[in-house]
Symmetry: C2
Subunit: 235 residues, 2 copies
């Protein structure tokens, strides 16, 4: 099956968590907006021809299924591509961790958009300064510390222990994105989180992920995505 990914063509965003899973799986997929032009996703974004319209991208078309919500897409994809153990307990736990990553991602995003997505960052700078200080001072250490402790408890270096999973790909993406957005804060926190850093490096060196990261398919981090680098927010 050749999947179709519907997501914005110019940012990593939430779609990147799906791209990483598809790339690691070696799955055939079309990144529709990137390969056919941004206008190619418009009818789908408007729900044309769909009864069950997703609220927001990314969505993945898999045969007759159209799946929305990043964590939902990953939970569907992973068991079909060996990206999660088959047992129910492991799948439930992996999904739980992915949903925690999703919560973390919202908080990372809201550092530059605490008032709402309808306003430019430039129109919410004082609010952003407060929220970002709370994020780098309290929330970022809390999330990093949580995953670091799990890595310490589970022997094997992956978040599920000895078995690599899609959640490792998502944690790689979080570390990479947070280093781009908050280099100073992440640098300061680095000594406390060696396992997360090691996981990041191990993921980055997996052959398919390394090839993807070196390819033009990997959109560089930029100031339109979820992770943005505003030096004044990185204190």
């Amino acid at each position: 099956m050749r999947y179709e990914l519907y997501y914005w063509p110019s940012i990593q965003g939430r779609g990147e968590f799906v791209r990483l899973a598809l790339e690691e799986a070696g799955a055939g997929y079309v990144d529709v907006a990137r390969e056919r032009g941004a206008a190619a996703i418009t009818p789908m974004l408007e729900g044309k021809g769909l009864v069950r319209v997703p609220f927001a991208p990314p969505y993945l078309k898999a045969g007759k299924l159209m799946i929305g919500q990043t964590a939902n897409i990953l939970a569907w994809l992973a068991p079909r591509h060996g990206l999660v153990p088959k047992g129910e307990a492991a799948r439930v736990w992996a999904h739980q961790l992915q949903l925690t990553v999703a919560d973390w991602l919202v908080e990372a995003h809201d550092t530059h958009h605490p008032v709402g997505g309808a306003f430019y960052y430039e129109d919410q700078k004082p609010e952003s300064a407060r929220r970002a200080a709370h994020f780098t001072g309290a929330r970022l250490p809390k999330f990093l510390g949580y995953f670091e402790r799990l890595l310490a408890k589970e022997k094997g270096g992956w978040i599920l222990g000895r078995t690599f999973s899609y959640v490792d790909l998502s944690l790689f993406q979080m570390v990479a994105g947070l280093r781009y957005a908050f280099p100073r804060a992440m640098d300061k926190l680095a000594p406390k989180h060696p396992r997360s850093a090691a996981l990041h490096d191990r993921v980055a060196s997996r052959p398919r992920i390394a090839a993807y990261l070196a390819s033009p398919r990997r959109i560089p981090f930029n100031q339109h995505g979820i992770f943005r680098h505003y030096p004044e927010l990185d204190t």
Copy 2:
């Protein structure tokens, strides 16, 4: 099996989505902090005796499984209690909708905590005023309109069409909570969303839900939960 729900005893919060599902299912459960005192959940919140520690409550103990993340708990519970159709496509779609409810819930919460949970509302009133205006003016109509359109497309009055599901319980809770928090905004939007209102009423009149809502097990909405009524934010 007798479930154990670990959640704060004095608010509806995220735990309420799980309580509603357990009540509708007629499942045996202990609401641990409410029945045994708030201190009874402390060891679990600290991860005592757990390798796979959840990030935050609610969690549900189901035999040997300890499940965290509200939508994950519901996705696990629902097929075991007839709260979602058995087919994969329906389950994936229901979960997708539940995750969209979860996103909506975060936005409802952040109207009174745009800077972060570490600060009192009183310490972020100007930021809240801006965020709440954006919420009631743009986001609330967008989410309500989304679910209203789905209800119009699917004949039968439930969000999955003719089949009642746990997502209907969650939509009931959203409408109830939003009416508590934003009575003026919800009143103004009501004429455009008759189907959501009808769904709310149908859920409320289901025998087990009606009995639950009339019981002391249903914690009243209050100013410590996710839905809070600040008149100055309801414009």
